[in-house]
Subunit: 384 residues, 2 copies
Amino acid sequence: MRVGIIGTGITKFGEAWEKGLRELAVEAGVKALQEAGIEGREINAFYGGNMSGGRFVGQEHVAALIADRAGLNPAPATRVEAACASGGLAIREGYLGIRSGEYDCVVVLGIEKMTDVFTEDAATTLGGAGDQEWEGFFGATFPALYALMARRHMHDYGTTEEQMAMVAVKNHKNGALNPIAQYPFEITVEQVMKSSKIASPLKLLDCSPITDGAAAVVLASDKFIKEKGREAVWITGSGQASDTLALHDRKSLTELNATKIAAERAYCQAGVKSSDIDLAEVHDCFTIAEIMAVEDLGFVEKGKGGKAIEAGEFDLNSRLSVNPSGGLKACGHPVGATGVKQAVEIVNQLNGKCGKRQVKDAKIGLAHNVGGSGATCLVHIFQR
Amino acid sequence: MRVGIIGTGITKFGEAWEKGLRELAVEAGVKALQEAGIEGREINAFYGGNMSGGRFVGQEHVAALIADRAGLNPAPATRVEAACASGGLAIREGYLGIRSGEYDCVVVLGIEKMTDVFTEDAATTLGGAGDQEWEGFFGATFPALYALMARRHMHDYGTTEEQMAMVAVKNHKNGALNPIAQYPFEITVEQVMKSSKIASPLKLLDCSPITDGAAAVVLASDKFIKEKGREAVWITGSGQASDTLALHDRKSLTELNATKIAAERAYCQAGVKSSDIDLAEVHDCFTIAEIMAVEDLGFVEKGKGGKAIEAGEFDLNSRLSVNPSGGLKACGHPVGATGVKQAVEIVNQLNGKCGKRQVKDAKIGLAHNVGGSGATCLVHIFQR
């Protein structure tokens, strides 16, 4: 059985102080239903990706809350959580739900409302994506963990701080063309290099921001899609893998093993190679993360990610367009929403709806979503 | 495709101050694997039900953490959350994962570590299962919400405080025979009636306690089970339904619509009627909840639950054994673990392994797991 996406919806990413969790969710969900041209009663189930409603807004049981507000009761409502990979995981669970034969049409939504708490509390909450007892308790924040990876990548492969800065510059250049981006403007390498140190060698402009936002997709079985006479972008590969939560337990600091395994599974299922991919949304929570991602996904040889970025190989409409949306860096990173937002971008790209940031002749897209420092990775492949 | 349970594991429920989240999880998981007679490398995926690792122990990303500790990497690890129904939901998602054809063998684990915070903080965290903006913010705790239901049930149907007390008395009588129970001793109606008021008419001994614990089951496809030559208890029905989070949005305070719909789906799938059930583990977070559950599940006519309890109709080895384990009341209620613990009890009952609390000739069991005040309900039916 094939599973396709027939509708997408997304909110503006940013600081949505005037909107609550449920308002953001319904805004994205309604857009997705309208685009799909279906009604609430045709939806068999709801899957919601959300990292920490409990600590950000005091609300657990988030999927039922959204199903309630959206008028989807009594359809099953399921929240899944894998830190910053919660959105990608929600897509996979919705996809498996349809493949099980239990559902024909499912709404998948990712959401996070992060700006209702102080920044230091947000950082502590995000620390819950790593190993609280062995990392967070001793003061390791997420920038600190990724700084360790960056330092080692620089040591092993000669990657430079300027190359990392170029990831941010590229993604802001794309993001400047994306109306939902939190920071839709261009920046320069010099600005990144001069921005304040967060955890050396990572500087402020190497880091994705704290963001509110929601994104939704409508998934359906091929049977449902045919009956409704809809066009779809098909999910042709879905891979999920796990790794240790704590960095110190890993064999290598310069790769995410879970990315490699999830990608291998997704490529195998889709019957494509990394060189077949036309565009990719990868998890650039920090600039070093994108450099590692393009290596782990097989787009360049290990250790050559920095040089490839410098050579412009992943610019919009170059060899392979990476993060045409602007990535987490320019769009913002509402952690539970990000994985679904990546799918929204790829579906819109494959449908030729991305205006000035449109990737030409895009046929195969890949989404890469990472939880924590790599303990969960999801890779999905999408094709027209 | 059929899905069966080939192994169960559970920890002692109680105040596990000497054990962390990951230790409890591995203890239950290893027992389940040993009983199933399989090794970690044969497991294709892990599903973890957990309500609020974030607020109870500062740890999100709980499924990956447990998979890591249990040596299951790089198998996919997925946390699901639906408040106190997280455990039942994890079983359903594992079941759907196998039915999708993606997995042959899955470990499902429910866990909560609740005693690392002060009681008032635990109560606030549990409030996140209800509507935080419309209930929690205004001071409605969970005992208060269920007290509203109890008051209305008393008004509409003449249910008495003594009948509610008899639920607790029955469940403690069963729980006294259960080695994992947090409070394995008998109590009297008089003790319940004289216990301190929590939210009138609910008294201390009408309420399930705050508990640490974990429970696990190994699910497998019929093909895997046949190849391994294992015996299994089969999941013949799985129903999930949703309702409004906030009580004030419901048509009725004396029933859970989500229970009724989930049960209808599960009965229909299994091809059985409520009168076919030999034993049921129902969600007695408060005594009134069990009275409503036996009505909503169709075991007695609406409004007659209290009288049926009083007549002993749900005592061990009476017409229908309800909560032979001791229920949430006597066993304790580690919220994310409860739904899986219910399945563990039913599988052990159907396998004739429950010693002094064994239900005679048990062939068909039902588990009923509720999230919040009924916004999520899961009903599963199990058969030899």
